[in-house]
Amino acid sequence: MSIYRPWGNVLWLLDKLKIEDWVTLGCIATESRSCTSVANYKDFSSSFVLLKITDPQPLESEAVANAYDDSESQLDSIPEDQKNVIESELMATLDDLEDYVELCVEKSPNVIIDITSFPKRWFFPFIQMLINDVRILNLVAVYTQGETYAATIAENPEPLRPLPGFITADERSSHDHAFVGVGFHDLGMLKLLGDDSVKKLNLMFPFPPGPPGNKKNWKFVEQINRKIGGDISSEEFSEPLSLHFLPALDASEAFTAMSNITRKGQLTSIMAPYGPKPISLAMCMFAIAVDNAGLEDVPVYYSQPQRYAVEYTKNALKSDDGLESWAYALKLNGRDLYTI
């Protein structure tokens, strides 16, 4: 039986859920959309744990400080006693992350995690902890789209390695499937295809991408193709490489696609979450679901940048209907919606 996984406009979904005491776990970043996103649904939430994450190698300290101030000022209307703003380093430990989750759990069993500006190094383990915490009854992830992206969104990647909490404990280096989110930059992910042996490479292509992502996404595909074997048009090479065109915002569909391709996690897989955040969210949920089903775990590899562009996106994206901000129900009434 298939599970209905509600997702849609954040205000619509939160209104439908009729839960009053949400705690928001959000990120104050230099890009203004981080706080625009939180400010948009703040009336649904009664407390806020907001993390201001500092890069280890900031380039323009003054610009960074000013951008943080501008961004945070959007949350001035939230009463101080409801806000807990904490500064932390990008390379914080899992123990630090657990402490922040604990701050949320103390406030409420209902958590909104705003992944809009959280680095993957943070939101992947956060969601893992929140899903697996029986004290959490309701969990919703929020993602707000950006207007335009900086030419270079991130710099100085670390070596490719598993995201915290997302490993294969048995050092498996051969996998039936690799899922790679198609994004703007490959950073160091091509190394993955050197170190691990993968029978089938699945590129999760956001479709329709629209400009300017379109060109960059195809360049990403070209780079991967160059690495794995050149001739994409050749019959022989169409077999190990598959392009899956997925709606960029539909985490549920991306999750289902991965579940179907791996025969509900029976086939082993590995992930590289580049590209749109909702697709990364689906990868995160899939890796957790496989782990919780007691199947062979799904390592998630990423080369963490050590610096993000101050103006990662120009602004939050708006349409006539308001902010392009989406919410994904991950857990409702203690029931995990993304399972296999």
Partner: protein, 658 residues
């Protein structure tokens, strides 16, 4: 199989052992003998220098594949007596110790856990190697010096599992699989702790931690005592991706850092009688600047603690090109790829590349291939040129544009004082062979630029030289050229076994694409890659401007810069930034014999040749580089975003470089 013989860039990573045997070139093996000789070996080289390929020869799977394919194993016969372990630090979660809060532990404590974790990884890999060889045929086992066959491996397990080195954590067992399961269980325990699948580390681990390198020594001792391996058989432990340990940021306690490299170095410092030695693949300066040993103030010393195999040094282009190793290496690699792609090539000769690309093109030939309609238009005269000289040069340009351009440059430099009404071959610049040689590459670029055309980069020798001594760059250049050729040729590109001849324009287009690719690739690497990328662009822009503004071509060598050594040592942050640029292959860093009267020692830097086509600057190093004052260098570094301080008490380097 792909139509492009260079579809697979790496012959050490993803490639199957079967294909490895077909593609591997053994040209470098005689130059890297310490890898297969007793004692520790540190192999330095940039990514793509061939480190991984060479170290792959230590792996049992690769050796067996040679035997199965009936191909002679490229390691000298007298060096084949070894078992080996391979630990890939990135893949094994060794980098992940920083994921847990270290502040409630002393940094040394974290290092001790790291050492224990590494020991178990090494032992597991050794056990795997033992199992593989025990199933191999007699000939292989004889070469290795392994006396155990199949299940006979179990005979060493009781002694190994009961040994005190495990501090009681490993329970006595009878079979190699039971022993392996226990090793795996401990490793899993660490991984689960590091990734917070469990809150705390198993308390038993604290009391049963092993000292770095000890279990491998015991393994060796027990095998020897049991007569299971020949006395001459060595145990080699290859630690892969050691270099990236420096790029891992960790949770830190104020004023203290966990030094993982020092932990591994301690294993190298531990000389032993059990013929256990380490192979470390790393980047050059990253190694030299860090040789600390855990728990002591002593440092590792070359020759005493390890042999040094400097692949970049071996492969770099010499002043005397006859002693170059890289061209033979590249030519052999090319040949093997052609054979792999089912072209008819004699592996004993290395001429296939010349057949496909033609050996070389003279600058005159390259200009001819530009097919300029009105070559005379390229010449530029000012008021200092007499009408007679202008007429002579314009006439000359119709037949030999390069000579005419050099004539223009000659007059700009020396003045219009000579009678040019002589034979072409007697023209003064034609008689000054060195003057001409030093300037023709720049002149060629100026001609192409003035004609609003892209210069041509073609010919086997140019392609090899553009690779800058890096086999990965060489393969990538070929990959782009063949991709371009396949695109133009379509179905005709599938014809075998006759080698194709690839047109110069196709070659040049491929080279341009490869050049752009390598420049874009800089930012995808680790370390301060965005700063490095901006620095490369800054100096390339500077040299490009300088070359095209220098109409007299007075400084044809200004495609690189030279800095006084003493200045670099005075400002360690500047020096280490440059060293990182060299370690990642963005710059070539060479000792420079100064022409200055002060005779002060200098170091010269050039862009990696593969970047030159994209930036439109010559890759051939002639004449003196630009003697850059420190202030210029600091300007370029600042433009690139590096943080620099002239206050010697202020260290602006990121923590990982300290």
């Amino acid at each position: 199989m792909s139509l492009n013989p260079f579809f697979e860039l790496y012959a050490g990573d993803r490639i199957s052992p079967d294909d490895f045997v077909k593609m591997f070139s053994d040209v470098l093996v005689p130059h890297a003998t310490p890898i297969f000789a007793p004692g520790n070996a540190v192999v330095t080289g940039k990514q793509g220098s061939g480190k991984s390929m060479l170290l792959s020869l230590l792996r049992p799977e690769i050796r067996l594949q040679y035997y199965e394919a009936g191909v002679e194993f490229p390691v000298p016969l007298e060096r084949r007596g070894f078992l080996s372990a391979n630990v890939n630090l990135a893949h094994s979660s060794a980098y992940d110790f920083g994921l847990r809060r270290a502040s409630d532990l002393e940094p040394e404590d974290v290092q001790l856990y790291f050492a224990d974790f590494l020991n178990y990884l090494i032992l597991r890999s050794l056990i795997s190697c033992l199992k593989i060889y025990s199933r191999a045929d007699d000939k292989v086992r004889k070469e290795v010096g392994l006396k155990l066959k199949g299940d006979e491996c179990n005979s060493i397990v009781p002694a190994l599992s009961a040994h005190p080195v495990w501090e009681g954590w490993i329970k006595p067992c009878e079979t190699i699989n039971e022993f392996d399961d226990q090793l795996q269980q401990r490793i899993r325990g660490y991984r689960r702790y590091l990734h917070k699948k469990v809150k705390i580390i198993d308390p038993e681990y604290l009391a049963t931690r092993t000292t770095i390198g000890e279990p491998a020594l015991i393994f060796s001792q027990i095998l020897r005592d049991a007569g299971a391996i020949a006395p001459k058989t060595h145990i080699f432990i290859d630690i892969d991706q050691y270099e990236e340990l420096a790029n891992i940021l960790n949770d830190k306690v104020e004023g203290q850092t966990v030094d993982y490299r020092a932990t591994i170095n301690k294993a190298l410092a531990n000389r032993n009688e059990f013929k256990v030695s380490y192979r470390i693949g790393t980047r050059g300066h990253a190694w030299r600047n860090h040789s600390k040993i855990m728990g002591t103030t002593a440092k590792l010393e070359e020759e005493r603690d390890y042999k040094y195999v400097e692949l970049d040094e071996i492969l770099i282009r010499r002043e005397n090109s006859k002693s170059d190793i890289f061209p033979s290496f590249a030519r052999d690699v090319f040949n093997r790829r052609m054979v792999f792609a089912k072209f008819n090539v004699n592996l004993q000769e290395d001429l296939a590349i010349d057949e496909v690309y033609k050996k070389s093109f003279t600058p005159e030939e390259k200009i001819e291939r530009l097919s300029l309609r009105k070559p005379q238009k390229v010449l530029k005269f000012d008021k200092n040129f007499s009408e007679k000289s202008k007429k002579r040069l314009l006439k000359l340009a119709k037949n030999n544009l390069l000579s005419a351009k050099l004539g223009e440059i000659w007059i700009r430099q020396k003045g219009d004082i000579e009678d040019l009404d002589i034979l072409d071959s007697d023209l003064p610049w034609e008689k000054k062979k060195y003057w001409k040689k030093e300037r023709r590459e720049v002149a060629l670029l100026q001609i192409a630029s003035d004609a609003q055309q892209k210069p041509l980069w073609c010919g086997a020798n140019d392609i090899i030289a553009l690779s800058g001594g890096n086999i990965l760059v060489f393969l990538s250049l070929n990959q782009f050229i063949w991709d371009t050729w396949i695109l133009y040729k379509g179905k005709d590109s599938e014809i075998r076994p006759q080698l194709p001849i690839i047109d110069v324009h196709v070659q040049s287009l491929g080279v341009q694409k490869a050049s752009k690719y390598w420049i874009e690739k800089i930012t995808q690497e680790t370390g301060m890659s965005s700063e490095r990328s901006r620095f490369v662009a800054a100096i390339a822009g500077y040299f490009n401007k300088k070359i095209f503004a220098d109409k007299k071509i007075s400084y044809p060598g200004h495609t690189g810069f030279s800095i006084q050594k003493s200045e670099l040592f005075e400002y360690p942050n500047v020096r280490e930034y440059l060293e990182e640029l060299a370690d990642y292959g963005n710059l070539l860093m060479l000792d420079h014999t100064t022409k200055n009267k002060d005779r002060k020692q200098r170091i010269k830097f050039y862009l990696n040749p593969i970047f030159c086509p994209h930036f439109g600057i010559p890759f051939i190093r002639t004449k003196e580089p630009y003697y850059a004052p420190l202030i210029d260098l600091v300007g370029w570094l600042s433009e690139a975003g590096y943080s620099i301080s002239f206050n010697k008490d202020v260290d602006t380097r990121p923590q990982r470089l300290v």
